[in-house]
């Protein structure tokens, strides 16, 4: 979607266990939800 929106050189950082130990952990685990950092440049 980023490239379709006029961005390039897209980089994605490693996953972060955003919800580990939180109330929402079980739901996050069920869909393998993690946080990521994204970097892209506007064309």
């Amino acid at each position: 979607m980023l490239e379709d929106s006029g961005f390039d050189n897209v980089r994605i950082g490693p996953p972060v266990d955003t919800f580990g130990g939180a109330i929402g952990e079980a739901k996050a685990r069920s869909f393998e939800v993690y946080g990521y950092a994204f970097l892209a440049h506007r064309i």
């Binding site: 979607m1 929106s5 950082g13 580990g20 990521y36 950092a37 892209a40 506007r42």
Partner: protein, 201 residues
């Protein structure tokens, strides 16, 4: 991420406002996500920078990653923070760009805006301002920003393609989008994606 709008936009915005009103007013309350300093540590923020901020700048932080982990901002850069909440990432950005830079935080939740504005005044950060607005229609001139940051906000927007188009509009050519957000490794059933309650909880 899909560009299909799966839920009613106004209903989703109303629920997001309600959720983050609670985070602004009662950051230590019961939330399905971590908040505040423990979250900033979990997400790998520079501990010294976080420690230097007052509690009110950090306590309502509810991001999902670290938008500064892949690139540190440069002094003098002009930054837009999409969904700035109580201002935590905007204050980190303000520290990195310094007084020759400028940061505009955009948020749609009045309680978050009030908190971020009060904190900016407390910090005497003249180069940070907070404006009411939506991610899809930000009160920023075309091509104003060198950098757009965001943290855990785009996943809460029904029309992600519209958000990226708006970010593209406010960024200058060659500008940088650096944001953090959640992504799922397993497919979410379409019925669940149409359940607005699951978007915020």
């Amino acid at each position: 991420m899909s560009n299909e709008t799966l839920v009613d936009v106004d209903t989703l915005r109303s629920q997001v406002r309600e959720k983050y009103r609670d985070v602004a007013n009662d950051p230590q309350g019961t939330h399905h996500f971590h908040t505040g300093r423990p979250l900033a540590t979990r997400l790998g923020y520079d501990q010294a920078v976080v420690d230097a901020l007052p509690d009110r700048a950090v306590e309502s932080f509810a991001g999902v990653g670290n938008p500064f982990s892949l690139r540190r901002l440069e002094p003098g850069e002009r930054v837009v923070d999409v969904g700035s909440g109580a201002g935590f990432d905007s204050f980190i950005a303000a520290t990195q760009v310094g007084p020759t830079g400028h940061v505009i935080g955009i948020d749609m939740t009045p309680e978050m805006l009030a908190k971020s504005r009060t904190t900016a005044a407390h910090l005497d950060f003249d180069h940070v301002e907070f404006c009411e607005g939506l991610a899809e229609t930000m009160p920023v001139e075309d091509g104003w920003a060198d950098v757009v940051i965001s943290n855990g906000v785009i996943n809460l927007c029904a029309d992600k393609q519209a958000v990226f188009a708006e970010i593209h509009r406010v960024l200058r050519r060659g500008g940088v989008l650096q944001f953090a957000d959640i992504a799922n490794g397993r497919p979410v059933p379409i019925e669940a994606m149409r359940d607005v309650d699951l978007w915020t909880g």
